[in-house]
């Protein structure tokens, strides 16, 4: 019996899973400079700020990440008198309940510096970098994340000294006690200059967390403050102890001091001359995010796409698919590729159709060039469908 279909047996079908990785480099000039902040979108609710890779009013723009800042209700910065105090607490609580979860009493946990939720240092004043699915895909590859910040006390040259945060041990020493998947610890190290207070070993200074599946980096605000927790005169309230040898003052942190960004909001500084905690407590979230953006030198990570594939091995044996139903194959019903019946038949495949039991074409694969089929050869075409 002539036939055009060949049934796929169970041995001809196999399912596989492949992890695809792409390198995602982001230079700091994209988030502060190149587009004169036209790619930065602030919302009337003021809870977060969105960063695009092009002025966001253009249809070519892609949303790449969001930024926000907040502190725990138990932070020394938390106080009803500060600007957007409730929103800063709320955003901290929202992300901590998703990323760290609740304790046995049902209370929202704080972010923990070393991932040991039973105790230790908590991260109570933090910045959030939420990467979009467009960039992170299924997850950030463990051990690939790094973000570099300028830590110079010079407002005009913030990148004169820099610190890199990276999940150095992420590939093997990631944590699994988060309700939002796996996460790693971000360790701070001097990349240009030596502004860190303690950086004798690469894993000495813990400065944040990176949640791989959620695609969220939590960065401690103490990265920009000094070693002292100064109770200065005035209303300065103080946050966690800083990681730097010397604090960067609020004025030095202000991105607007030496620039002319249109409509830029002035930073509100309570005492006007202290550190990031002052900015965090007294400024709006958008203004705080502006500070971080203008200190962001670059971000680098590899994303991961989990490809589930089904591979169909389409086997053409020597005695199969040697004839064609192509109208040009016949002239007055006679094969044009043969002179007599003893000649071997030949055909040329250019496509593979994958059919349902009721003969409906569900998938099609095209060969880049015709493949000769005659009784002297056999081949297996490997058709992979990714989901």
């Amino acid at each position: 019996m002539a036939t055009t279909f060949k049934t796929l047996r169970s041995k001809d079908v196999v399912s596989t899973r492949t992890m695809l990785h792409e390198a995602i480099p982001m230079t700091g000039t994209i988030v502060s400079g190149t587009y004169n902040d036209l790619n930065i979108k602030n919302y009337s609710h003021g809870i977060f700020q969105s960063v695009f890779d092009y002025p966001y009013l253009s249809s070519s723009a892609n949303h790449i990440f969001d930024m926000s800042a907040g502190y725990a209700s138990g932070s020394a910065l938390s106080g009803s008198g500060f600007l957007q105090n409730a929103k800063k607490v709320n955003i901290y609580n929202e992300l901590s309940q998703i990323l760290v979860g609740f304790d046995e009493t049902g209370s929202i946990r704080n972010f923990d510096e070393d991932g040991d939720l039973t105790g230790g240092t908590k991260l109570r004043e933090v910045f959030f970098l939420n990467f979009t699915r467009l960039l992170q895909k299924d997850e950030i590859k463990k051990g690939s994340f790094s973000v570099e910040f300028g830590t110079s006390a010079s407002v005009g040259n913030p990148f004169a000294t820099r610190v890199t945060l990276s999940d150095i041990s992420g590939a093997t020493a990631y944590k699994v006690n988060s309700p939002a998947g796996e996460y790693g610890i971000l360790y701070a190290n001097n990349s240009v200059g030596t502004t860190l207070k303690n950086a004798y070993t690469v894993t000495q200074t813990k400065a944040g967390l990176i949640f791989y599946q959620a695609g969220i980096a939590v960065i401690t605000a103490s990265l920009f403050s000094g070693s002292y927790n100064k109770a200065a005169a005035g209303t300065y309230v103080g946050g966690e102890l800083g990681l730097l040898s010397q604090s960067i003052s609020g004025v030095q942190l202000s991105p607007y001091a030496n620039t002319t960004v249109a409509n830029s909001p002035a930073l509100s500084l309570v005492s006007g001359n202290n550190d990031i905690n002052d900015v965090l407590s007294a400024s709006a979230i958008s203004g705080t995010c502006d500070v971080l953006r203008h200190r962001l030198y670059n971000i680098q990570f590899n994303n991961t796409t989990e490809l589930n594939s089904t591979i169909y091995f389409c086997r053409a044996n020597h005695n199969e698919f040697n004839y064609s139903s192509n109208p040009t194959y016949l002239s007055a019903s006679k094969l044009v590729v043969k002179n007599n019946s003893q000649d071997t038949p030949v055909s040329y495949a250019t496509s593979v159709g994958m059919y349902s039991p009721d003969n409906e074409l569900l998938a099609v694969a095209k060969l880049s060039e015709p493949m000769k089929k005659d009784p002297s050869n056999e081949f297996t075409i490997r058709v992979r469908l990714d989901y």
């Binding site: 002539a2 049934t7 796929l8 016949l330 007055a332 694969a365 060969l367």
Partner: protein
């Protein structure tokens, strides 16, 4: 569609068709790949130079250089011609499908080159008698006009009294038609696969499935005794000159939408510029009817050969 790059290793460009995606989205298990076929749509075997004096290496030089298009996602736009498996190598002739259009036998095309389907009572009444190549789409049972496809070796080098090799006889056909326009109806003497005792007229056949583009597929086999597929006798009048296999006959029933509304005719159709002639003379004059041109496709399930038959749905205005 662009061409696939063919200056390096052979690559495979695989996509789900629109129907495949639709079935996947349904999530009802209907997305199940159970078989495959190989196609050669781009190949022109006329370029195969089997008498090239330089030797056999030159026979298919041009064929192998054929550029191949990227995959179409439309399920009806690709895999039009398939490779066939026959477990012997000495075959010199392969069967084809041909329209049986001998005048006076009820299956000829109209002078306008298509099978015309009068879709409603008004159009039928205007025509009085449908005539050659005009099918009664309103009440198909009232008329013997039909579409008939014959299968066999269309060659005079073999006698039509020779038996066609059993492995070349087509025993199953797939008929595809745009479900918005019409349905497949049994030929004279046939019965639909959905007939009920209470039916006053045999209804149209039930399609195997209707795809995302509204193309309905009907599956008819020789085994089913519903009259659609029958053996084609060696001495029977036929368009096949040589050994014969089977024949497929059917009529067309117009869809309810075409009968009751001129919406599709105004959207997709054309106001006629010439008269539609029947055997008794002209009954539908120019500008007095609209028509939609389409095709009904017949494919041999086993031999893979297929033909597109021109159809014209006609409605008087």
């Amino acid at each position: 569609m662009g061409f696939l790059q063919n200056d390096g290793d052979i690559i495979l460009d695989a996509v789900l068709t629109d129907t495949g995606r639709m079935r996947l989205a349904k999530g009802d298990g209907s997305f199940r790949i159970s078989k495959f076929a190989l196609g050669d749509d781009e190949i022109n075997y006329g370029l195969y130079d089997k008498n090239n004096t330089s030797g056999s290496a030159y026979y298919d030089l041009t064929v192998l250089q054929t550029p191949v298009l990227e995959a179409f996602t439309n399920n009806t736009s690709t895999m039009k011609s398939k490779l066939i498996s026959i477990n012997r190598n000495d075959i010199l002739y392969l069967p084809v499908l041909e329209l049986y259009t001998t005048a006076g036998k009820g299956s000829a095309k109209n002078a306008n080159g298509a099978f015309n389907v009068a879709v409603d009572k008004n159009t039928i009444d205007t025509l009085v008698t449908p005539g050659t190549g005009i099918l009664n789409g309103f009440k198909p049972n009232d008329d013997v006009s039909r579409v008939e496809v014959h299968q066999g070796l269309d060659t005079t080098e073999l006698s039509n009294e020779e038996p066609l090799a059993r492995d070349l006889v087509e025993v199953a056909y797939i008929v595809e038609i745009d479900n918005r326009f019409g349905a497949i109806f049994p030929p004279p003497g046939g019965v639909s696969n959905t007939v009920l005792e209470t039916d006053t007229q045999s209804p149209a056949a039930t399609p195997s499935f209707i795809d995302d583009d509204n193309i309905a597929s009907y599956y008819f086999t020789l085994r089913n005794t519903n009259g659609f597929v029958a053996n084609l006798g060696g001495t029977e009048d036929s368009s096949i000159a040589g050994p014969r296999g089977t024949k497929l006959g059917f009529r067309i029933m117009s869809s309810l939408e075409l009968r009751t509304s001129d919406y599709l005719f105004t959207q997709l159709g054309t106001l006629a510029a010439s008269a539609l002639s029947n055997d008794a003379g002209t009954n539908l004059t120019a500008s007095n009817y609209r028509f939609i041109d389409t095709t009904v496709r017949v494919t041999g399930v086993n031999t893979g050969y297929r033909i597109d038959i021109p159809l014209r749905f006609v409605r008087s205005v």
